[in-house]
């Protein structure tokens, strides 16, 4: 089946509505959250209508059905990521996944490989989303470890020449985004993973902007932990994934403790169930997990390589169009080399918030501001940008609508 975004759009009921007095919806904000296909919406509704029960508990048919669906979703996601099924942990989103890893490391006692102390280093980059920066800032503050970071070059790439000075014997954690949500830059993993493993550090990958858009295989990448959010990958809100290599999950202490994550409990002590249960205390977001299972099936049926190829064409087209306008400055790589479909830019003389408001009046949804990456936008000298982010249901027509909208805004604000 050849890839046709117009056919794909029919799977997403939101595209049958109009915006701002009858205008066609031009949705260019999938980097913030994606729209949902009917099959995902149905999966959530069906769970509540037909199978609702607390998973892993209850001696009744509904509990069995709910558990089968829930664990079935785990298997689907494991296959989608090239992971083992017991390595897939459900959280409520990538933010929780990253906090889970950071807090669990903070719980590690002396002697545990994750124990951090003064003199140890945590390495991040200047292009991290706040969700992959602040948990590590806080962990550093709690443990006395030092937070260091890769700088970002003017064209929006990591400065890899810093590897020898940043990744040293004292480096314990390297936490990095796979694709920048602001710049669109896809970071090279091989060299960094190799250097990190040479000194015994673990690599945590924030894959929020890559898992929905390209084929991701955790084993091929050679990384140690990965986080992403379901809602950016045509799945429901309220569900995310934390993946970790099995032997690391065995040694990593738990973060949230409580029901269903234990092996045994007395009044004064507890021991832990093996992963994934060890990291999933409490009754989980069941309908959302099941919805995410259906979402990855939906993406897989289309094919992640086909989606990536489509986005490559769209991104290349929009990048060329943006770069052709003198008043527009694209923040991030100007070439398609290792570049994904998040395009941030400024328009001379128009503040992004005003541009976003104008585009909204034309039915065009974009994101404006610092995109939860304030240190990055400040370092680039642009406190705020406008971002268009592309996905499988976008079309060249959407790109053209954006360009028309920008030109109209330039006339409107310079009247």
């Amino acid at each position: 089946m050849s890839f046709n975004p117009l056919v794909i759009r029919e799977d997403f009921p939101i595209f049958s509505r109009t915006i701002r007095d009858g205008k066609r919806l031009v949705y260019l904000d999938s980097g913030a959250t994606s729209q949902k296909p009917q099959v995902v919406i149905d999966a959530e509704v069906d769970f509540y209508r037909l199978h609702n029960a607390a998973v892993h508990r209850g001696a009744h048919q509904l509990a069995e059905e709910a558990t089968d669906l829930f664990e079935g979703a785990r298997l689907k996601i494991a296959r989608f990521l090239g992971a083992e099924v017991d390595e897939v942990i459900f959280t409520k989103g990538a933010t929780e996944s990253l906090n889970l890893i950071a807090y669990a490391m903070g719980n590690a006692a002396s002697g545990n490989r994750f124990h951090l102390k003064a003199g140890d280093r945590i390495l991040v980059s200047q292009m991290e989303h706040h969700a992959n920066l602040i948990p590590w800032q806080q962990l550093a503050a709690r443990t006395g470890a030092e937070l260091v970071w890769f700088d970002v070059t003017p064209e929006g790439r990591l400065d890899l020449s810093q590897i020898p000075t940043l990744i040293t014997a004292s480096t314990k954690v390297v936490a990095l985004t796979h694709q920048s949500n602001v710049l669109g830059t896809i970071n090279p993993l091989d060299e960094i993973v190799k250097a990190a493993h040479n000194v015994g550090a673990v690599v945590v990958l924030d894959a929020c902007q890559s898992v929905p858009h390209m084929s991701v295989d955790v084993k091929k990448f050679g990384i140690d932990f990965l986080a992403f959010s379901g809602h950016k990958a045509v799945g429901p809100t309220g569900v995310g994934i934390m993946w970790g290599r099995r032997e690391l999950l065995e040694e990593l202490p738990p973060f949230l403790t409580g029901g269903s994550m234990i092996a045994d409990v007395t009044m004064t002590s507890a021991t832990w169930a093996p992963a994934p249960a060890k990291f999933e205390s409490g009754v989980p977001n069941m309908a959302q997990v099941i919805g995410l299972g259906v979402a990855v099936d939906y993406l897989s049926a289309i094919g992640m390589d086909s989606i990536a190829a489509h986005e490559h064409v769209l991104t290349s087209d929009l990048l060329t169009k943006l770069l052709s306008v003198e008043e527009i400055k694209v923040v991030g790589p100007h070439t398609m080399d290792s570049r994904g479909g998040a395009l941030s830019f400024t328009v001379e003389g128009i503040h992004p918030h005003d541009l976003g408001q104008f585009l909204d009046s034309q039915g065009i949804a974009v994101r404006t501001g610092h995109h939860c990456a304030w240190p990055l936008t400040r370092s680039l000298g642009v406190p705020a940008t406008t971002r268009a982010s592309l996905y499988l249901y976008n079309t060249i027509e959407d790109n053209d609508a954006l360009m028309t909208g920008i030109h109209s805004a330039m006339k409107y604000f310079r009247q």
Partner: protein, 145 residues
């Protein structure tokens, strides 16, 4: 909704030619306010003479709504007593929360009634209030000195 309700001529004029946008060297209190959702920032200096606001100067970066609003507020509230300034600010806040149902009393709010359209765009109310909140904060600190 018509975008012209939001971007009144008066707002775009203040945006292009902002009033009092040059930080005075002498002041009683300096405040720095940030809108964390969009990154707009403002630094504002205030001087009191007795209980009268005698000087407001500012500098900042932000959208047309936030920049025009602080320009308007800095012009409107200077020369007012702290009590009067507070009551005008409250009337402006009330206008911002009106969801498009109020047009604002021009005798009290003067140019600030041009911002009435902002109340129909919930995401922009914080933009319009940034400068007013900075003046309120600076006034309180200055009067407590």
């Amino acid at each position: 909704m018509n975008l012209d309700n939001l971007y009144q001529e008066v707002i775009l004029d203040h945006y292009k030619n902002p009033l009092n946008k040059s930080l005075a060297k002498d002041y009683d209190v300096q405040v720095h306010h940030i809108n964390p959702s969009c990154g707009d920032e403002i630094t504002l200096n205030i001087t009191l003479t007795g209980n009268v606001i005698s000087k407001i100067t500012w500098d900042g970066v932000g959208c047309s709504i936030s920049q025009a609003s602080v320009s308007i507020a800095s012009d409107l509230l200077v020369g007012k007593t702290l009590d009067v300034s507070e009551s005008i600010t409250e009337e402006f806040m009330d206008l911002m929360q009106s969801k498009g149902k109020k047009s604002g009393n021009e005798l009290v709010l003067e140019d600030a009634v041009a911002l009435a359209g902002v109340s129909q765009y919930p995401a922009r109310i914080k933009c319009a209030l940034l400068g007013w909140m900075a003046i309120k904060d600076a006034s309180m600190q200055a009067s407590n000195k």
